[in-house]
Symmetry: none
Subunit: 224 residues, 4 copies
């Protein structure tokens, strides 16, 4: 379901029984197109960044004409939004476990493992997600960047509020932002390091940083 694509209301009920399956076909084809386009966009965004990515390049990479692209997305921004949304969704889907309530009840070191490991793995596998989160001053990007970002922040914030229930809201927000910032910075280092022991060492270092940062804030109430 593309972000801002105008739904063409009821798709004019089939004219005869024999064509009953057509509309479903159409939609199926449409979604395939959308997937194609988003995959292409992911590739292009990754290679060139959002700003330098041209819609024509995305269409070409998807093997369709620019007109077709605009049949599904009203503009370039919408592609980024939808792509980011889907990636976020997949992140949540694949790693919803990360923020599983039961994880939040475990002692902090385990919690960090449980939350960070899948997130890191996901980002290593989906570099486009990362490219989109780096909203480096892109004109219209700010909005959906914010959306993506605040979705993540909300999850972090929620986890945090569980760990430290009596914290002031403003503090929660600020600390969540710091955590996300630290996470992103570390991810940069992790992604820049070739897979192996050194990369693992950076992962461990990230956990150390967060552990030491968060430990004093946690109201240790797990298992009396």
């Amino acid at each position: 379901m593309p972000g801002t694509a105008k739904d063409k209301s009821a798709p004019t009920a089939a004219k005869s029984d024999t064509e009953a399956a057509a509309p479903r076909r159409r939609q199926a084809r449409g979604e395939r197109r959308i997937s194609q386009l988003l995959a292409a966009a992911a590739g292009v965004f990754c290679r060139t960044g959002y700003a330098a990515a041209s819609t024509n390049a995305i269409a070409r990479e998807a093997g369709v004409s620019p007109g077709t692209l605009y049949q599904f997305f009203p503009n370039k921004e919408a592609i980024a939004i939808e792509l980011g949304g889907q990636l976020l969704h997949r992140a949540q889907e694949t790693h919803g476990q990360a923020f599983l309530p039961e994880n939040l009840r475990r002692p902090l070191p385990e919690l960090l493992d449980a939350v960070l490991d899948p997130l890191i793995a996901f980002n290593c596998e989906n570099p486009a997600f990362w490219a989109l989160m780096h909203g480096s001053g892109v004109p219209g990007m700010t909005q959906e960047h914010e959306e993506l970002h605040s979705a993540m922040r909300a999850r972090v914030r929620h986890a945090l509020s569980t760990l430290s229930p009596e914290a002031a809201p403003a503090d929660l927000t600020r600390v969540s932002n710091m955590i996300l910032g630290i996470f992103k910075a570390s991810l940069d280092l992790i992604l820049a390091t070739p897979e192996g022991a050194e990369r693992d060492a950076y992962v461990a270092e990230l956990k150390t940083v967060l552990l030491r940062y968060l430990e004093p804030m946690v109201t240790t109430t797990h298992s009396p």
Copy 2:
């Protein structure tokens, strides 16, 4: 020294006292223009990033015609390089102050204040520095960016090795990178927050993160 501006220093000793300043006037005007243009560029780069910044916008912001801009800079990149170079120079001075040896001998909390405050202040006063250095995609900038980056890392590493003399070299490097990453991520947050209590809170938070991260590593030998 901007791209094409050739200073003909000593323009054939003046014939009389009254004419002595005349040739210098020309250059004075030109240098004023250059400053205007660089200031304008700083503003535009800050607002839109390097890639999206248009030379026409810079010229307009500087109150001159596009042609004038090109009298002093051969192309857009040269503006960024010149601006980056100037800021870099000033940044290095700031860094020199920040990492003064006497600072490194103080207890960690004071050390963090002494080091971080000037760095943060500099970046708050020169937000363009950040915009340019932050992987703005300036073609010829990468080198200088790398130089600055490794200079900072070297300083951080050196400070770290003073605090924790027995640490392994690989660990020193890794921790330095983490510290720099945390610093940059926090700086993003700080710069994105309007001046005031909230920004200060972010500064404090950065110090908290680093304090908690580094405290366990420090070999506390400076107590009486």
Copy 3:
């Protein structure tokens, strides 16, 4: 074949007869545009020369927007190359006719008529050819220009060697070059003269020059 135009020949065999022509329509329109653009370019190149011709002027002359031009040609040079190539092709056909072996066996005055008339006619009908070939400074054109030139020289040389079989090779080359030079110089004059008696007089003059120049060299063996 213009620069970026990709013809997807055989676009997935049409589903029904009525749709068979549809995909070709697209290309038809495109090719019509290309022709328009090339015609416009021919006009503009003729009037102003390649260097001074602006792509916007060509687009305007063709009645399209500049963007459209760039849909079919990647840059100004490509237009010149394509146009030059087409003209070259037609020129070669003309040359083929002009230098027909049977022509070379006729007495010199008739030979000159037979060879020169079609060449002159072609150039009068395609003045752009001249404008482009005349050292117009088209970067990628030099090669084709050279090819045409040496092709012409070879033909002239061959004709000459038939007329004057005992001439030394170096002399043949030199005389061929002279003939070509005289032809080109005269063509300049012919093209600069409005159609009519005066132009014809220049044509006659060219033939006179060549006749008088070549007559003494010809080994007259075709008399009964």
Copy 4:
């Protein structure tokens, strides 16, 4: 004396005896400047052609500022006109002998030697002259190109009318144009051939062409 440079009427007669020499100094300096500029223009025109030559480049080559250039020439065209004029003048001066009345009375072969040799020599030494005469569709160039050209044509025409007094005016003009065209075409070949025997052979060939072309036209009245 530059072509279209506005003469500032009487240069305000000197205010006192001591300054009496100043105006002459000024003019001397001015003419030196003009020479500098024209020499620079010759170089630039030669290297890049008229159209691609920029006034700034000429000024730079002359070692003066663009403003200074415009103090002596109202625009680019005027530079070309003046340069062409001077070259023409030098051509006439140096080789006025070429068209000396006594030469015109000699038999055609000697006449051609007497006229062509100095002209060829001059053009080999002053390639800028050639570059200017090749008015390849230059916008404002046509005028002065025509002026130069018609000056040469007038000389040729005059020589021709001496050789063939009873020829019709239109024929004289046409033949003069042909001669000039042949001369220019041959000069191209001559200049393209490295100095030596082959070049000399081209010179000889040119003379052959013209000799055979003109011989039948000449009313042989020399020495009864």
